[in-house]
């Protein structure tokens, strides 16, 4: 056992034994041990085999910075044994060895290393053609590191053993990265100035390099005490700052939480990494960095070896020697590389340690895969010529070689942020400059050494000792030696960036942490450039590997549900996700019914009787104001100024390039009020574009996306009127309510907007109602139609119904080039208008003619395969593609296949032309070009049966509902309370007159956007923009009175049904929300009655801080269809705060 008997080791608990296995053998370590330290304590130095030559490898840094100690755990490959804490019964396996760790037959490759030069694969396996395809399989088998055990992906494992990984936003005045002397000092200074400081360190304790020097423990302890006493310093240990991005944005990885930190200023104090000396066999187990020996002693109480030799390029080497002596190791010699005597020479002399001068390492000797001695030769001038004369002086027997020859600032993080490395020849070290604004770098990470006072550089300028037989490793990960780098330069890859890619230098798991400095020196020497000119390859995030679990962590997948979601769910809906919306694809009436049977049944239901479909996902846009008609006229292609109130017209939207981007129906509700529908997926973009255009036009209109405010349903089929008549007071005969008319009136007790449309090609009424009342109307329709046999239908049946009518779906039957002319929709273009979006371009395009046309086609052959979307139209004589299918399905009512296709060969566009479609499997199917509509071309089926008289039955008392049902338990705990307040009264006031109007009503309105005021009557007025406010009244029965009609430029917004409203209260509310939004909601930085409109769990929402007495509380509002999604997100985020 190498564990020291005296009680040293600040990370281990000597009372608790932990058993584990490695390479099939049982071992025991102590609590607090890492896998590597426990193996060392058992004398097991050999941990892995190297990547290329399968050489034996062991601990090098014991800090997790090298790639020598990657091991395989059952559920995790490439685990860093230096850092991974030991767990009871942990099963650890070595990686990258064939056979056993002790006897790896692949090690024979080392003998052939001269035939495996750098770039070997590039040079060897490319001839003859196809050779690489053959060899790559064999090569890939021998390369690679750990193995992923896919059986761990099974559900059972995830349920039983998975850990919860989370993500969180943090905001701080000052972020200090690195808790060593300089980091702690800087944190205390910033805290003294009143800044809030976040101090992070990847190690379990603060102290940095002070932890390796017993003489500094008092200084360290006093600083740590000061830090913990400071109220405004938060310390996160075991946390790696893994990425530094624009504007002081950092990624911090703790064990199972990823913090995304925004700092006003940052301070880097990440120290420096000790570098190996480069000499033959410097990779043998037992050849370690001086600091690694100190880690073994100070952290884990392990005696590093029995007999040690130290290669000294600085005074650190002498401290290592003294530490080793104290640990009971016999220090055989210090090989002093420098000329001048060390300041610590006297204390070394006291210990009778021999200091050898005028000598340098020639090679390490080995026995049983461990170092057994160091052979020295007479000092040589810096050179890279392996054949130069040398004179072996002596060999010293030892089982440990410590290398203390210099450091490299931990440059990766600052260089990610754009800092530059400058090599100072006189100090033989890189220093760092050019940090981004608002950041500083101090201490060893800046290339400055010492604590209170600056000390000389510890870097020996040329710790590189070529050997005639090579194997002096520069990059341990990739088994690259001095000659590999020289050969790469000689092959012409003399730039460090090219050399990296050619030789893979610095591309292994350690990312050049031990090789960058030596590589720069070697390449500079070989090319005759300066080290600064040669430089270091670009550092990019992440600094170290990130587990997939951490990246996946808390992820957001917004989902929107309509007001009738729960009903659909209870009635057999099979869900389909359209954009973020959940929509019923169809309803399965019994488990035996096939998908196709469901669709066919629902199709017939509409064609023969009456069906009801939820079309709430359809976009809704309210355009109100004196310029409403002018605005709609400019945006859409058609003529809308002359549209009569109470009527609607098809509305086609093009972009400026004349490409069709959306469509819907424009309804004129009143002289100055248009209600537009838009496609479900397109509405957000359409509204955004409307705002953009009006930012320039500044017409007097209000644009409001009311998609979330209104739910909608379409009752369609020959019996539609009979059903609707039972629940509405509106006249429904053809004269009173003609095709495309719009009516407003009470339907099932709810004030509704009705549009008579024909999207599915039957008599149909769209009913648009406030979404919190929509379920009442749906239920009333189902009850009213019960006797007739009404049934719901889903999206699949609707797609088929509209295809039978030849109605296009924008985005499915069109692409990014489709113009209205290609769709034969020239009728929808009002050329006489002075302007509409796309007009000029379409005028120019019309002159040159259309290259394509959307055609209808039918296939009558019984048993023909059904072409699918994007199957190609083929001209088989010329073997040429002439178009593609955009929609296609078998129509049960027409007993044939019908479809739409974009055709490029216009000579075949005439009705009756024959076209061929290449289907799955490559067979060609004959189709006939057929003019759409395929079904009811005369539109005879869209007329109501006027022989019939309205008979409204019963009275209706609609009830408001929230999507958050009682079955979703309210989350309560001592610490956080989440409540659904969706039924309390809310109202939006918007427009240039809105603020003045509210003030005239005696209300106090905040003087700037994103502030709120609570008025005397208990209502809260939140100002959302220069012209918009949101009023929340705690009393659910409170009714807002619309402004009188003579008051212009004030627009009423239906916030109670467009937005759900939750309240989260409790002192941890800000912390819980920081998992969902990037806004800084800490109580100090987000005072009471502040408003933020932002992204919450990836949906747009409004946050209002409104404390309850003295308890922190927030209103959280988002669009109602996202209510259930956001509720679930918040509930999940607050889980950890429940209970005490």
């Amino acid at each position: 056992m190498a564990r020291m008997t005296k009680d040293v080791g600040d990370r281990i608990d000597r009372k608790t034994t932990v058993n584990f296995s490695f390479d099939g053998r049982s071992f025991s370590g102590l609590a607090g041990d890492t896998i590597a330290s426990a193996l060392l304590a058992n004398g097991q130095w050999l941990v892995s085999r190297s990547f290329k030559y399968h050489r034996p490898r062991g601990v090098l840094s014991l800090s997790g910075d090298d790639g020598n100690t990657l091991v395989q755990l059952a559920d995790e490959p490439n685990t860093n044994a230096d850092r991974k804490l030991l767990q009871q019964d942990l099963r650890v396996e070595p990686q990258n060895c064939n056979g056993s760790l002790n006897h790896d037959p692949m090690a024979v490759l080392g003998l052939f290393s001269r035939f495996l030069p750098v770039g070997f694969y590039y040079k060897t396996f490319f001839r003859p053609a196809g050779a690489w395809a053959f060899w790559s399989k064999i090569i890939r088998k021998s390369a690679g590191l750990g193995k992923l055990d896919a059986t761990y992906l099974s559900d059972g494992y995830i349920e039983s053993e998975s850990t919860n990984y989370d993500k969180q936003y943090l905001h701080t005045d000052t972020l200090v990265i690195g808790g060593g002397y300089h980091g702690m000092k800087a944190a205390l200074d910033a805290a003294a100035e009143g800044h809030f400081v976040l101090l992070v360190d990847r190690e379990p304790t603060l102290g940095g390099a002070m932890n390796l020097d017993a003489s500094l423990s008092e200084l360290r302890d006093s600083l740590v005490a000061e830090i913990s006493a400071a109220e405004n310093i938060r310390v996160e240990t075991n946390t790696l700052c893994n990425g530094w991005y624009h504007d002081n944005w950092f990624a911090l990885c703790s064990e199972n939480r990823l913090y995304k930190v925004r700092a006003k200023e940052s301070l880097v104090a990440v120290g420096a990494l000790e570098q190996p000396a480069v000499f033959r066999n410097n990779d043998l187990p037992g050849v370690i960095l001086g600091s690694a020996a100190q880690r073994m002693i100070q952290h884990y109480g392990i005696q590093p070896g029995k007999r040690a030799v130290i290669i000294a390029g600085n005074d650190e080497a002498y401290r290592v020697a003294l530490d080793l002596v104290a640990a009971g190791t016999q220090v055989e010699a210090i090989v002093e590389l420098r000329d001048e005597p060390s300041a610590l020479a006297a204390s070394i002399a006291e210990q009778n340690i021999r200091v050898i001068r005028n000598a340098e390492p020639h090679m390490a000797l080995s026995s049983s895969r461990h170092v057994s001695g160091l052979q020295l030769r007479a000092r040589t001038a810096p050179h890279l010529d392996p054949l130069s004369d040398y004179e072996v002086i002596e060999s010293i027997d030892c089982d440990l070689i410590c290398m203390s020859v210099g450091y490299m600032p931990a440059f990766q993080l600052p260089c990610q942020a754009g800092a530059r490395l400058i090599y100072e020849d006189n100090r033989a070290t890189f220093s760092i400059e050019g940090l981004p604004k608002g950041s500083k770098i101090v201490g060893a990470s800046a290339g400055r050494w010492g604590l209170e006072q600056e000390e000389p550089s510890p870097n020996f300028p040329w710790p590189i000792f070529p050997h005639p037989k090579g194997k002096e490793f520069v990059d341990y990960d990739e088994d690259l030696t001095i000659s590999d780098l020289i050969n790469a330069v000689n092959d012409g890859f003399d730039h460090i960036q090219l050399l990296k890619r050619y030789s893979t230098n610095g591309m292994g798991p350690s990312q050049g942490r031990q090789s960058a400095l030596a590589s720069a020196r070697i390449v500079a020497f070989a090319t005759g450039k300066s080290v600064t000119e040669t430089g270091i390859t670009t550092a990019r995030p992440p600094l170290a590997g990130v587990s997939l679990a951490l990246s996946a962590g808390r992820s957001f997948f917004p989902a929107r549900r309509t007001a009738m979601h729960h009903w659909h769910d209870a009635h057999g809906a099979v869900w389909l996700q359209a954009g973020t919306w959940y929509r019923p694809a169809f309803y399965r009436s019994s488990p035996e019914e096939s998908d196709q049977d469901c669709i066919t049944r629902e199709n017939r239901q509409v064609r023969e009787n009456v069906g009801l479909i939820d079309i709430s996902t359809l976009g809704g846009i309210d355009i109100r104001g004196p310029d409403a008609a002018e605005f709609v006229n400019r945006i859409y292609t058609g003529a809308f100024k002359g549209l009569k109130t109470g009527h609607s017209r098809y509305a086609l939207l093009c972009n400026e390039a004349g490409v069709v981007i959306d469509d819907g129906v424009a309804c004129r509700i009143a002289e100055h009020h248009f209600y537009l529908t838009a496609t479900s997926v397109g509405v957000d973009r359409v509204v955004q574009q409307m705002f953009r255009w009006n930012a320039e036009w500044r017409l007097d209109v209000d644009i409001a996306n009311v998609t979330a405010a209104f739910a909608a349903m379409n009752v369609a089929g020959p019996n539609a009127r009979r059903v609707l008549a039972k629940i509405t007071k509106l006249e429904l005969d053809d004269e009173a309510f003609p095709f495309m008319a719009v009516r407003q009136g009470e339907t099932a007790g709810v004030e509704a907007r009705l549009i008579r449309t024909g999207f599915v090609g039957e008599l149909g009424y769209e009913i648009h109602v406030p979404q919190h009342l929509a379920q009442n109307v749906w239920t009333a329709l189902m009850q009213a139609g019960e006797a007739l046999g009404i049934a719901p239908f889903g999206v699949e049946a609707q797609r088929l119904l509209r295809l039978e009518k030849g109605h296009v779906i924008i985005g499915q039957d069109t692409d990014a080039m489709t113009t209205p002319m290609e769709l034969d929709m020239g009728w929808a273009l009002a050329w006489k208008k002075p302007f509409f979006l796309g007009k000029r371009t379409l005028q120019d395009l019309e002159k040159i003619g259309q290259p394509r046309k959307l055609i209808g086609f039918t296939i009558k052959t019984a048993g023909s395969p059904v072409p699918k979307e994007s199957h190609l139209l083929i001209d088989d004589k010329q073997d040429k593609m002439i178009g593609r299918v955009t929609s296609c399905a078998y129509s049960p009512v027409l007993s044939q296949i019908v479809g739409l296709a974009l055709l490029e060969d216009l000579s075949k566009s005439e009705t009756g032309s024959l076209i061929k479609i290449r289907c799955d499997g490559g067979g060609l199917v004959d189709a006939t070009v057929t003019a759409a509509p395929f079904y009811d071309p005369e539109n005879q089926r869209q007329k109501p049966d006027d022989s019939f008289i309205n008979e409204t039955t019963g009275t209706f008392t609609p009830v408001s509902t929230s999507q958050i049902t009682a079955s979703m338990t309210t989350s309560t705990s001592d610490r956080l309370h989440l409540t659904d307040l969706s039924l309390i009264s809310r109202q939006g006031y918007k427009g240039s007159g809105a603020i003045g109007y509210l003030q005239s009503q005696g209300a106090e309105v905040p003087d700037a956007p994103n502030k709120a005021i609570v008025s005397a009557n208990g209502s809260m007025i939140a100002r959302l923009s220069f012209e918009e406010t949101l009023v929340i009244h705690a009393d659910a029965r409170f009714e807002f009175v619309p402004p009188p009609s003579e008051i212009t430029s004030v627009y009423f917004l239906p916030r109670a049904h467009s937005h759900c409203c939750f309240q989260l209260s409790g002192k941890d509310a800000s912390v819980a929300l920081s998992k969902l939004t990037g806004i800084d909601l800490t109580p100090e930085n987000f005072p009471n009655l502040n408003v933020a409109q932002t992204s919450i769990a990836r949906v747009n929402g409004i946050l209002i801080r409104s404390d309850l007495n003295d308890e922190l509380a927030f209103y959280i509002l988002t669009d109602t269809p996202s209510a259930v999604y956001l509720w679930d997100c918040i509930e999940d985020a607050i889980k950890e705060f429940n209970g005490n």
Binding site: R692, S1025, Q1093, S1095
Partner: protein
């Protein structure tokens, strides 16, 4: 992640914004030549240097203009459209 100052909402993560392309004033659609119109519709300048761009704060649908240096990737200033064009564009 970069920060951008929204004239309505203040400093926000760039992920809260939608990019709206270069700001090109529309030439008169009735009078401009085909070449001028094609230039306007299909071509961006891709200036290496200071550019003026449309940006929208997604959560509030608030459009504004941003002046950005594409060489240094610095956002120099953001402004409401009305500040650039005092009069509405018809």
């Amino acid at each position: 992640m970069k920060l951008m100052h929204c004239p309505l909402n203040g400093q926000r993560n760039i992920s809260e914004f939608t990019y709206g392309g270069e700001y090109h004033p529309m030439p008169n659609p009735e009078e401009s030549t085909v070449d001028t119109w094609i230039e306007y519709i299909y071509f961006d300048k891709n200036t290496a240097g200071i550019v003026l761009e449309w940006w929208c704060h997604t959560a509030t649908s608030y459009w504004f203009l941003a002046e950005r240096n594409t060489i240094t990737d610095e956002i120099l200033r953001t402004l409401p459209v009305s500040e650039l064009k005092k009069e509405p564009v018809s």
